[in-house]
Each structure stands twice: as C-alpha cells, then as structure tokens.
C-alpha cells in the first residue's frame, strides 16, 4: 500500500490492526539491508510528500515523511540553510539505489560527522506526527525549537525504526549554511596519536565540527581530519590556530580546496572506507579515548574508520566476527550494520540491553504497537 495522506495511512493501519496483518514500513529503501528482515505487507511512505512549511527566519522546516532528503536539502540550500546533523547516505554501504526519505532519516536517527558539534538527528528534530499500531494519529513537539510541553516522544520516535509508529510528518530546527570551511589534516598518525590529536582539537576553543581519522591502507597514508566552518575570516583564523596546535602530532596541511574537502567529508560521512570492504560492517559508539583499545582488540583483520573524535568507530570485520565480545569491558554499544541474515540472527543487530531497560523497551513496544504489526522483529 502507498498512502498519499496521513488519514489514509491511519485507515490502513487501523484495518491491519483489526486483522493482525503485519506491516513492513519502507521509505526510499536505501537502508534496506539494515536490521532483521521483516515479512509483512509493504507500506510505502513515499506517497506522503511535500514541504509543509519552511520559515528561514525561524530556522524551521516541516515536511511529510516521504519527501526525499534531496528535496529537503535543496529547499534549504536555496535560502542558504541546511540540516545541522549531516545525515549519511547509506547507498554505498548497502549497494542500494533510490532516494532516501526524510522519514527514513528520522526513523534510523541518521547523523554524520557534524553530530559531534551540532548533535544527532534527534537533536534537530523538534516535532513529529505519527500513526501508532492501532491507527491513532499522534502528534508530539511542534514547530518551535524550545518546547517542553509534556513528555518528549520526538526523541523516542527518532531511531525507533518504525516499531512504535509510522511517522507521517517531521519538523526540524535548521542552521545557516556557513560562508566558508577548512579541513586541517594531520598526516601519518597511528590510532593512539590520532585520537589524542582529535581530542586536542575538540578541547580547543575553535568550534570544531568534524574530527575523523582514516587509518593507513595500501597506498593511502593515514589522515586525521579536523573541520571548521563559519565566516571566511573566522575559518582562516581557526584553521591556522589548529594547524599550529596539531603540529606536535605530525605533518599538518590545510585543505582549502572546497570541492576536495567536501568529497573527503562525504567519504567519511558515508563510511566509504568500510563500505567497500567485503566483511560485516559494525558501527560502534564508545567513549572517544577507548577507541584505540577497541582498535587493538579488533585486530589487524578489521578495517576501521573513526569519526566523532574517536567516539564513533566503523569496523569492517571478517564475516561472523562478534565485535561485542571484542569490546570486552569497554562501555558503549555496537550495531551490526551489514551482514548476512544468519549472522544478524546469531549475533543480533542491536546491542542487547540490560534487563531493566529491555523490559522498558518491550513495555513501550507493547503499548504503541499492541498487535505487533509494525516492522515486527526489525529491532529484536
């Protein structure tokens, strides 16, 4: 089914709830390889489209969930604005085609390198409308960026992968597009030094909004990349300061060519280092200073990429390897992003929750989807 309005979507879910028909909710399908496979009647959300409201002076945009991300980004760019959280494009990783939808971005809480400074998708999301598993339309939050009226279901919906409700409309706080940007690159660092360099950059007063490390690979020496953005003069000043600050770690250059820098950050954002690998892909969130230890325990078989100052580790490992065992006492969580269905069922896609949290999550699912029809099994 392909509803073209929220009311149609609600009717469809209500009817499915009555019959117990399981539903497979899908936007653009660019993340089709993620999570446990879902068997059910397809709900294609791409019929729900259009920017409902955009007020550049209020830094706010509201759109139906099936609106392509590309449309949102183009609309914002016309007014010199952008989504703060730099959502990644999963197509290279999953080998998918099609267009990512804004609803899909929210459902998976997709963020990119700028998450370290501007927050995740959930931090920019200020309002949602969704249909729960009984077909009831629910709204939460709104279109203003400060809103503490009642409980925050906005955050709960972000990253719930359609298991608590089918989103119909989402609202964001957006930010001005910067006038300029520069990327400071430290060359040839090992993971320990790279993480120290990224920490030095992030703890300096230069408002760094990207800190990633691409370890050395055949023909490619290691690069540790630090990004600043803003007004021209400010960017020149801060990148210069960072160059001086990071000189003690290794050779430093500044990538001033915009197109090259943009390509580099797109490469980082889309985890291309691991996407091109043959094995399973994991996404691991840790305390940044734990990243080198994690890299050591993962061993030489793993292809790695570090973002968020070390706090986000992308790993491509031999099929079936259990990264969670390798974490061995390191706090954080590992998500199996790409693998065979067999590995996914054996290891689980999501980090198992501690028993009391698992009970809460199950409780939420039972209340928002009492018939178990929304993307059943995707998260569990």
């Amino acid at each position: 089914m392909k509803p073209t309005s929220e009311a149609e979507l609600a009717d469809a879910i209500r009817a499915s709830a009555a019959k117990g028909t399981k539903l497979h909710i899908r936007g653009g399908g660019t993340r089709a390889g993620f999570g446990h496979g879902v068997t059910g009647q397809l709900v294609d959300t791409t019929g729900l489209k259009g920017v409902a409201l955009y007020e550049p002076g209020a830094l706010t945009i509201v759109a139906a969930v099936g609106t392509p991300l590309e449309t949102i980004e183009k609309t914002l760019a016309k007014e010199g604005q952008r989504l703060p959280f730099e959502p990644m494009d999963h197509r290279a990783l999953y080998g998918t085609n099609g267009k990512s939808t804004i609803g899909g971005v929210v459902a998976a809480n997709v963020s990119g390198p700028r998450r370290i400074q501007a927050g995740a998708c959930r931090d920019s999301l200020i309002g949602v409308r969704f249909v729960d598993g009984e077909g009831t339309v629910i709204k939460n939050g709104g279109r203003v960026m400060k809103n503490v009226t009642g409980y925050d279901l906005v955050k709960l919906m972000a990253g719930s992968h359609g298991t608590l409700g089918v989103l119909s409309e989402v609202a964001f706080k957006v930010l001005p597009m910067p006038e300029a940007g520069a990327t400071v690159i430290v060359h040839g660092l090992d993971t320990i030094k790279a993480c120290a360099a990224m920490s030095a950059a992030l703890t300096a007063p230069y408002d760094v909004n990207g800190a990633a490390h691409l370890p050395s690979r055949a023909n490619h020496p290691a690069r540790t990349c630090i990004r600043v953005e803003g007004f021209e003069g400010s960017v020149t000043y801060r990148s210069g300061q960072l160059k001086d600050l990071l000189g003690r770690f290794g050779d430093v250059t500044i990538e001033a060519h915009q197109a090259t820098a943009q390509k580099l950050w797109q490469h980082i954002r889309d985890a291309e280092t691991v996407a091109s690998g043959k094995g399973d892909v994991w996404r691991i969130s840790v305390k940044p200073s734990d990243a080198p230890r994690l890299a050591t325990t993962l061993g030489d078989d793993a292809q790695l990429q570090f973002d968020w100052g070390g706090g986000l580790v992308w790993a491509c490992v031999p099929q079936g390897s259990n990264v969670r065992t390798a974490m061995n006492g390191i706090d954080g969580h590992a998500t199996l992003i790409r693998s065979s269905e067999a590995t996914a069922s054996q290891l689980g896609v999501f980090q198992p929750e501690a028993a009391p949290l698992a009970k809460i999550s199950a409780g939420l699912r039972a209340r928002f989807d009492p018939h178990g029809i929304l993307n059943p099994g995707r998260m569990g």
């Binding site: 002076g57 939460n140 990253g159 719930s160 003069g233 400010s234 706090g311 998500t335 999550s361 939420l364």
Partner: protein
C-alpha cells in the same frame, strides 16, 4: 488549583511510614514535623502550597532506592525535588506524599576533559557544574536564569534551557547519561560517556518527564571548551515589531549569535530603577551576544550592526570592555528581581514561531488593556521563547485569578500561532489544565503510556503535566 483528594489511609499511617523511613536513613535525613516540612510546602510557584506527609533527604542512590521501595510498598505518592526553584509547581507536594529531595547529593563524581564530560550527582546546582570545570576553561552550556540555585535534577526533569541555548541547545542536547531509580526502587543506568542510544532513546524520554518516570540521581553532562571571548551589543528600537524584524534578519543572514535577548519598555524602566544599567528608554531593546576570538567577534558584530542599521535603531551600543559587557547584561539578569521589587508577577513561558512576534506582542497589549493588568516582556527572542510577566497585586482579592485567566489567554495565543505552552519551565501544575489546548486526548494518551511503563502505579509526582480529568481512570485503577 484542583489536586487529587489525599489518601486517608496513607495520612493515617504517617507514623508507621515515617518510622520505616527512619530505619533506613540517618535521623536528620527524615523530616516529619509539620513545623519543619513547611519549608517544602511549595517551590518557586508560591501561589500554591501544601504540606507533604514527610520529607526525606537521602545521601546516596542506594538510599533513594530504599526510600522508593518503601513508598512503593506502602502505596505512598512521591514528589521528587531538586532545589525547589520550579516556576511551574513541578515539585508541589500533595498532603499524602513523601518528598524525596536530592539536595544532599551534590558531588562531582568524574571529570574527563579529553572526552568532554562531567559526571555529577544531580543535587548539584547548575552553576556549580560550570564552577567545577571553569579553572580549565570549560563550561556546561545550559544556563537557566536560576542557575545559581537550581539543581541538575530539576534541569533534567524540566529539560531546562537558558539564554545561550540558541547556539548550545537545551538540557536534552547536553545530557549524555543518567543513573535513575524507578518507583519500584530499581537502579538503572541509561547512556553514559558515549553518544546516542543503543536501542530506543530512553534518555530523551526521561529528560523533560518532570520527575514522573523516576528519580535521577546521577548525570553525565557534556562540557565544552569556553570560547576565547564573548561580546554583546545593545540595540534599541522605537517599535517592538522592528526589533522582531531585526531578529529575523540577523538569523536569516547566517549569523548565529549565542544569545538574542529582548526587553520591552515596561521591563526596561523597571530594571533601570532597580539595577541602573544605563539602558536607553526605548520601546524595545535587544541584547545580541557573539563569541569567538577578537577577530571573529568583530567580524560577526559588523554583520549584526549592518543589519541593525537597516532597521534604524534608536540606540546601538557595542561593548568596548568587560565592564561595559557586564553593564549590558546587568539589567537583563536583574530583570526578574527588578519586577519582583515593584510588583507581584506571574512569569509565563510560551514559545512562538519568531515570525509571529509582532502579532503576539500586539495581541498581548490588547489583552493587557482588556484585563486591566500590565505586562512586561523579557525573553529569548532568537528561539521565540517568551517570558511575559503579568503584574498583579496578591493582596487585592481577585487579582491572582484575573492574572491567571489572562496568562491562560496568552498561552492559548502562543499555541494558536503555532507555538507551545512552555519552552523551558515545564508544565507542572501551573499549565496542566491547559494541555488540551495544545494536544488532543489521543496525544496525551500516548504520553501517559510512557508513564504506565515506568510507573504503573502512578505514584511519582502526582497531579503534574496531565489534566486530572485525563488521568482519573488510571489513578483510580492504580
């Protein structure tokens, strides 16, 4: 304010309940003498008062858990309390409730500059979190006006904001993890020094849940390196609408100041009499602050001044020194105190889309005439979070009621133009009965499901957030 009828059974068992609490806590941590519990009969919303059954002040998470277990077993409502600075009555007790206060739990547990976080017990005050890291040039970003007194526990409960959240976000954007005790007395950890949720974003749900899902005893907070410098510019305008248009133009131009504060003439005059900040006597005043190195500050202020000049300001005053910066902020920071000196006031907290500012200011003026009460405005203009102060005389019969009715009309207006009832203070008891103007019953039902999961017996922080009529079935069933 309608509150649920206290449970007579609980009132009758006061002695035995207090005795059980005294068994697990040291003597001074259990307060049950009505002369002493009086200090807890209200928070900063002083219009409503009620003495609790007793107050406990545990020193550890384990003690909080032990208290909650007893309350759960005894079926006693619990009112969590931070520093008691809520303007919304977020910690107003009921007569049959036990207040669990976290004020004795104020330690710093871990400071980690490399990973940019601090872990504190939640009784710690907001400002003293920054106080713990500022010697290393770091700070904790959310800065509610009450930051000298308010506790992190309350900041988390209300998802507090502040003047600088235009750039740095509110509490939920700076909270990385919590240790929390459920009503059943179970200690749970959510999040930590790493980013984002593994599965559902429970941290995002807990932040802003007004103490109704659990008692948060420890928090991992993001800390940031201080910018090299900051400087405000003061802009005066003859018309409020023009000030509003100037705000929108600054934002559209791609300048993102850390703060844009707005004050109107009544507020300017009152603060001048009180704080002598040297403000011009204009219809509307903006304080716009930018951050960075000297060159960056100059670059941003030039852009702001250029935009401002297009709106023909009556006054344009750029700070040239730390003293002048302090003077510019002095009046704004004293605004609430100044208004309190001359009048009783009710502080509202609605948020509106910035584009609706001129309309809302005009309508508020009309309402002011209609109700015969003056309104002074001081608010965060960049994000549309209004703080109209309605002035009334608490000693004049009927004035409080008139003020409340006018406040309700202003908040309804905020919702009508696409905004919300509360931007950073929380619903508490104050705006509870207005919730149905913003949300329908289905929307509220969805929120109540969350409480059903965390607190099935509906014992935590009773009678807040949801209109009593919408919770009756649940309360009677529990």
């Amino acid at each position: 304010m309608e509150m649920p009828v206290p449970d007579q059974g609980v009132l009758d068992r006061k002695a035995s309940i207090v005795a059980r609490l005294e068994q697990i806590l040291p003597g001074e941590a259990v307060i049950s003498d009505p002369n002493e519990t009086r200090a807890y009969e209200c928070d900063a919303l002083t219009a409503y008062r009620c003495q609790p059954l007793a107050v406990v002040l545990p020193a550890t998470t384990e003690e909080v858990a032990a208290c909650l277990k007893i309350c759960h077993e005894e079926d006693v409502p619990v009112v969590p309390r931070g520093a008691g600075t809520s303007l919304a009555g977020g910690s107003l007790p009921t007569a049959d409730s036990i207040i669990i206060g976290v004020s004795r739990m104020n330690a710093v547990l871990e400071t980690d500059y490399d990973n940019r976080f601090i872990k504190v017990q939640t009784g710690r005050t907001n400002l003293s979190v920054t106080g713990a890291v500022e010697q290393n040039d770091f700070f904790y970003a959310p800065d509610p006006s009450s930051q000298l007194a308010c506790a992190i526990a309350g900041n988390i409960a209300m998802n507090s904001g502040g003047a600088h959240c235009l750039k740095y976000g509110v509490t939920t954007n700076n909270l990385m993890g919590v240790r929390m005790v459920t009503m059943e007395g179970e200690i749970i950890d959510i999040g930590g020094a790493h980013l984002d949720a593994a599965v559902y974003d429970l941290l995002g749900v807990i932040c802003g849940s007004e103490g109704q899902l659990g008692i948060v005893t420890e928090a991992t907070l993001r800390i940031l390196r201080k910018p090299e410098g900051a400087r405000p510019v003061l802009l005066g305008f003859d018309r409020s609408e023009v000030a509003g248009a100037c705000v929108a133009d600054i934002i559209k131009a791609g300048v993102l100041p850390v703060a844009i504060e707005f004050m109107d003439r009544p507020c300017i005059r009152a603060t001048e009499d009180f704080a002598h900040a040297g403000y011009p006597d204009v219809e509307a005043l903006l304080i716009v602050e930018v951050e960075g190195s000297e060159a960056e500050i100059v670059e941003q202020l030039e852009k702001i001044k250029t935009i401002a000049r297009r709106h023909d300001p009556a006054e344009l005053r750029e700070s040239a020194s730390a003293e002048e910066s302090a003077a510019i902020w002095k009046g704004r920071k004293a605004a609430f105190g100044a208004m309190g000196q001359i009048n009783d006031y009710m502080c509202l907290d609605g948020t509106i889309p910035v584009s609706q500012l001129p309309l809302v200011l005009r309508r508020m003026e009309e309402l002011s005439k209609e109700y015969g009460l003056d309104v002074a405005n001081v608010f965060h203009a960049g994000d549309g979070n209004l703080h109209p102060l309605i002035l009334f005389d608490a000693n004049k019969p009927g004035d409080l009621e008139t003020c409340e009715a006018m406040g309700a009309d202003i908040l309804k207006l905020c919702v009508e133009v696409g905004g919300c009832l509360t931007g950073e203070h929380g619903v508490g008891v104050e705006k509870r009965d207005l919730m149905l103007t913003q949300y329908n019953e289905g929307d509220l039902e969805a929120q109540m499901r969350i409480k059903d999961v965390f607190d099935p017996a509906w014992l935590l922080n009773p009678a807040k957030v949801f209109p009593l009529i919408t919770t009756r079935t649940r309360r009677e069933a529990a």
